[in-house]
């Protein structure tokens, strides 16, 4: 079956941008026109009584209370949407983007602080509300927060610094060029005058916003590039309320949903007689998140638009009442809905039926046999394969995956006749606002969206159905409500990483040179292929084809969408090809990358061959790849480019008591300038652990439409003892503007592990998850 261009794909969120300007500058532009980001600079205004602002913001960090030498501010002046300075010198920086563990709440303000030139210890950070008048792209996804925020954040800090210097220049009657700054103090060296930022804050707030500002030379950075602790760490370790599930308001009710037990079913009838009489229950009703004719947005993915809702006083009481509902379900018919945005409204078909994994596997194998769509063709692949001395062919597959963010989906909503207030964990407030506005019939200015810290996201919280549900429930019961999903509700709701399948063929000449490469990839319900990725560009004869199958099981972005499969399998395949060619796997890749760098084949190759080679060289050096390996250590390597950055890993595996143990992982990453090195290391460590966990255990499967796992007793997750014993992370040092970190290190982990396990067992791993096969392979290998 041919893929439909109308299908909502698991978004590669790196493509979601409000700004078409390229951000790949290799050198930093010293002067920058602030008009680029005019919306970031509302009329500068003085805010009296800053305590008010800090007082109600329950998610502000507590540097104010514990770390600030400045104490509680008296008057607070807003210099621009990112910077507020109090008279006593306390600097409040707004962190615009949602935080789900990528640590942007620390790293984004660090960038502002760098250009503002303040002492980091005098900084407190607040989560900014969703506000398109001030901020752009308040979105957590695509590894883009830092990459796309970089210029705007620097500009905000530099513009505020300029206004402070301007204020000092006017106060002292000196040219602004003679006013310098250091760590929150303004100086005029000739006259020996100085003033703190706090002393100039009120005047600075009235200065005109500069049309252009001077940015620091990256070599003069004193905050960016130095490790700073997570600004919320203390709140986290002391259990303070931070997350959506922790949100509370007087008079708030608790709501829970019941969704169909299977994909392909919908609600037929509700008997709530018993549930209604149970203690603490306020109401039972159904909601329709989206009517059939509602034009859905890109992140409105939802297999279960009609839900049963139980509202009550406490979570446990509502959980009990849910169990007392007597519900009947019926099969869905074939249907279509309309999805808007990204190229206009389109129809999406939802097939009827109760799907099973066993059937999916058969259907994927059939689809891979053709017909398929050709996406890229270089040279004459058929002729090259015909003359190849040797052809290597392998087929790979991977199952659906559940995100399993540890904080289940939840949201607070208070909707009144003319206003909606929603507060909670979400990655994509802009998209939710659009849908909420349409669904509630309220203009965006009547909708207030506040973002709490998220207990994980991994892509799942880009899909805001639960926000719409919470709002509809609040509207119905006319009260503030917190919607809470149980773990089971969350894990069985859909929006999974798709199931994928790929067939690779490589043609080698008699000297072991790669002369032809063929990839045919597809999935349910989307293809994972990125046809212009390596090794495209490095092979004269290249063919990339794709296919897709329809399904009523919903899918969504999952850390490094599509790449999380393609990186895993392509890099495992290249290991096999290198072996067939009789070459070292790193040397083999470097040879291809050198070809791509010096004599690239075709156009639109989407990677920088030099940076790609750079991470391989760094990981080769740091892992001691060429040294003698300790006895019993089996080593695998992989590298990948996605989401604008480059990552390579070397995984060391030993076999102990019949089981594989990951002793050590050495990682090399090129993401451009690293903002907060220790936090960046943490992120890479997490990607490594996540990759090993999902490679070994990750799987969601279905029997007659029913997800066969609904909690952590059956859905196996990597645990403490299974994590690598050591992870060494190294970054390529360069002056390239930041290119993103959350996703790029994730995909190649799967392949580096598979390649190491091959060395340990002599068996290639073609099907994810690996754990079910490994035990057998280890037994065979060790006798």
């Amino acid at each position: 079956m041919l893929p439909s261009s109308r299908r909502p794909a698991s978004c590669d969120c790196s493509r979601l941008t409000h700004d078409q300007e390229p951000f790949e500058a290799r050198t930093t532009v010293p002067t920058i026109r602030t008009t680029l980001n005019r919306r970031s600079f509302l009329k500068a205004s003085a805010l009296a009584g800053g305590g008010l602002l800090l007082g109600f913001n329950w998610s502000a960090n507590d540097a104010l209370a514990v770390a600030s030498p400045a104490g509680v501010p008296d008057d607070l002046f807003e210099i621009n949407g990112f910077v507020k300075i109090s008279q006593n010198g306390l600097v409040t920086l707004m962190s615009p983007n949602p935080e789900f563990g990528q640590n942007v709440k620390t790293s984004m303000p660090m960038i502002v602080a760098e250009e503002l030139d303040v002492d980091w210890r005098s900084v407190v950070v607040e989560q900014a509300p969703f506000n398109t008048d001030i901020y752009t792209r308040q979105f957590a996804g695509g590894s883009q927060s830092i990459r796309q925020g970089w210029r705007g954040l620097r500009m905000a800090g530099a513009a505020a610094r300029h206004m402070l210097r301007e204020a000092a220049a006017q106060a002292w009657g000196v040219p602004i060029e003679e006013v310098t700054t250091q760590a929150g103090t303004l100086y005029h060296r000739k006259s020996g005058r100085s003033a703190t930022y706090g002393e100039m804050a009120s005047a600075a707030a009235t200065m005109p916003v500069p049309e252009e500002v001077q940015l620091k030379d990256v070599r003069d950075f004193t905050i960016v590039g130095t490790s700073r602790k997570n600004v919320e760490a203390k709140k986290i370790v002391t259990g303070q309320p931070l997350f959506g599930l922790d949100y509370y308001r007087d008079g708030m009710l608790i709501a829970m949903i019941v969704h169909p037990p299977a994909f392909g079913l919908r609600l037929k009838s509700v008997d709530d007689a018993e549930a209604r009489t149970m203690p603490g229950i306020v109401d039972v009703f159904t909601i329709t998140t989206f009517d059939d004719d509602f034009e859905r947005g890109f992140f409105d993915t939802n297999a279960f638009p009609e839900l049963v809702v139980v509202v009550g006083r406490t979570t446990w009481e509502v959980m009990q009442a849910k169990k007392a509902l007597k519900l009947e379900w019926e099969p869905i018919p074939d249907s279509t809905y309309t999805i808007g945005g990204f190229g206009g409204a389109q129809k999406v078909r939802v097939p009827a039926g109760l799907e099973s994994t066993t059937d999916h596997i058969k259907r994927m194998a059939e689809a891979a046999a053709g017909p398929v769509r050709t996406v890229r063709r270089d040279g004459d692949p058929e002729a090259a394969f015909a003359r190849a001395a040797r052809i290597v062919e392998s087929t790979y597959s991977a199952p659906f995956l559940a995100h399993n963010a540890l904080e289940p989906m939840n949201f607070f909503a208070h909707v009144t006749k003319d206003r909606a207030e929603v507060i909670g964990p979400l990655q994509a407030p802009e998209f939710v606002e659009r849908t909420l506005s349409a669904r509630l019939g309220l203009p965006p200015e009547k909708i207030d969206i506040q973002m709490t810290r998220m207990g994980g996201g991994f892509g799942r919280r880009a899909y805001g159905h639960y926000v719409i549900e919470a709002a509809l429930i609040s509207q119905k019961v006319n009260a503030p409500v917190k919607l809470v999903y149980t773990r089971e509700d969350d894990m069985t709701f859909g929006i999974y990483r798709p199931a994928y399948h790929a067939v690779f063929r490589a043609g080698l000449d008699a000297d072991g040179n790669l002369i032809a490469f063929h990839v045919r990839a597809g999935g349910i319900p989307e293809s994972p292929l990125s046809a212009n990725r390596f090794p495209a560009g490095a092979v004269d004869h290249y063919l990339a084809e794709e296919w897709a199958l329809e399904s009523n099981i919903t899918i969504g972005a999952f850390r490094a969408p599509r790449s999380n499969f393609m990186g895993a399998v392509e890099q495992a395949f290249l290991d096999e090809v290198a072996e067939a060619a009789g070459k070292d796997p790193i040397a083999f890749r470097l040879e291809l990358l050198e070809r791509a760098r010096t004599r690239p084949v075709g156009e639109n190759n989407d990677y920088d061959a030099e940076r790609y080679a750079g991470v391989l060289k760094l990981v080769r050096e740091k892992s001691g790849w060429e040294d003698t390996r300790p006895s019993g250590v089996h080593r695998g390597v992989a590298a990948y480019f996605c989401h604008n950055s480059y990552a390579a890993h070397v995984v060391d595996v030993t076999i102990e008591d019949g089981r594989p143990v990951v002793r050590r992982v050495c990682s090399a990453v090129d993401c451009g300038i690293v903002i907060n090195p220790d936090a960046a290391v943490n992120m890479v460590e997490g990607a490594v652990v996540d990759g090993i966990g999902n490679a070994l255990y990750g799987a969601m499967s279905f029997v007659d439409g029913v997800p066969d796992k609904s909690n952590f007793d059956t859905y196996r997750m990597i645990r403490h003892a299974e994590a690598p014993k050591a992870i060494d992370v190294h970054f390529v040092e360069n002056d390239i503007d930041p290119t993103g970190l959350g996703e790029p290190p994730f995909p190649p982990v799967f392949a580096a592990l598979a390649n190491a396990l091959y060395r340990a067992t002599g068996k290639r791993l073609y099907e994810q998850p690996f754990a079910p096969q490994i035990e057998q392979y280890v037994q065979e290998a060790t006798g």
Partner: protein, 152 residues
């Protein structure tokens, strides 16, 4: 419904709840102590870990009636101002990513070090295996426990 007396973080409190209500929801919904997290509800993830008479328990699976008149410690009561050596070690190693599991991790770690002041790597692995971290901060958790060992 039943009136039950609990001792939470050294404070005597009375709650009026169904006796089968898990301690987790009494802490979160009734006592507004939300540092103890809900992750799975079946004792598989450890996010809800608290101390009952000094021993770690999964509060999501513990009916409140079974802990009446016993001493319960939650993350909020572990220390004054987050100065417990394990919390300090967590800050030193900048352990959290999303942070959702960390209260449960810390409560498990404190219980470990209370009964085994200098655990081996294998003992830490075994003890901490019941606490899931979806972000994958296990190496930092491990390192923080090693740092805190001997400081309790």
């Amino acid at each position: 419904m039943a009136r039950l007396n609990l001792t939470v973080n050294g404070n005597a409190v009375e709650v009026d709840v169904a006796p089968d209500t898990p301690l987790l929801w009494v802490l979160r919904d009734h006592l507004k102590l939300v540092g103890t997290k809900y992750g799975c509800g079946i004792g598989q993830c450890g996010a809800c870990t608290v101390h009952l008479n000094g021993l770690p328990v999964r509060s999501c699976s513990l009916p409140v009636a079974s802990v009446a008149d016993q001493s319960i410690t939650t993350i909020e009561g572990l220390s004054q101002d987050g100065l417990h050596p394990v919390q300090q070690a967590w800050l030193e190693h900048d352990v959290p990513q999303c942070g959702y599991c960390q209260a449960g991790q810390i409560m498990s770690a404190v219980a470990l070090l209370n009964q085994n002041p200098s655990p081996s790597d294998e003992e830490i692995d075994a003890w901490m295996n019941g606490n899931l971290c979806r972000c994958g901060t296990y190496l930092r958790i491990h390192a923080a426990i090693k740092s805190a060992a001997g400081k309790l």
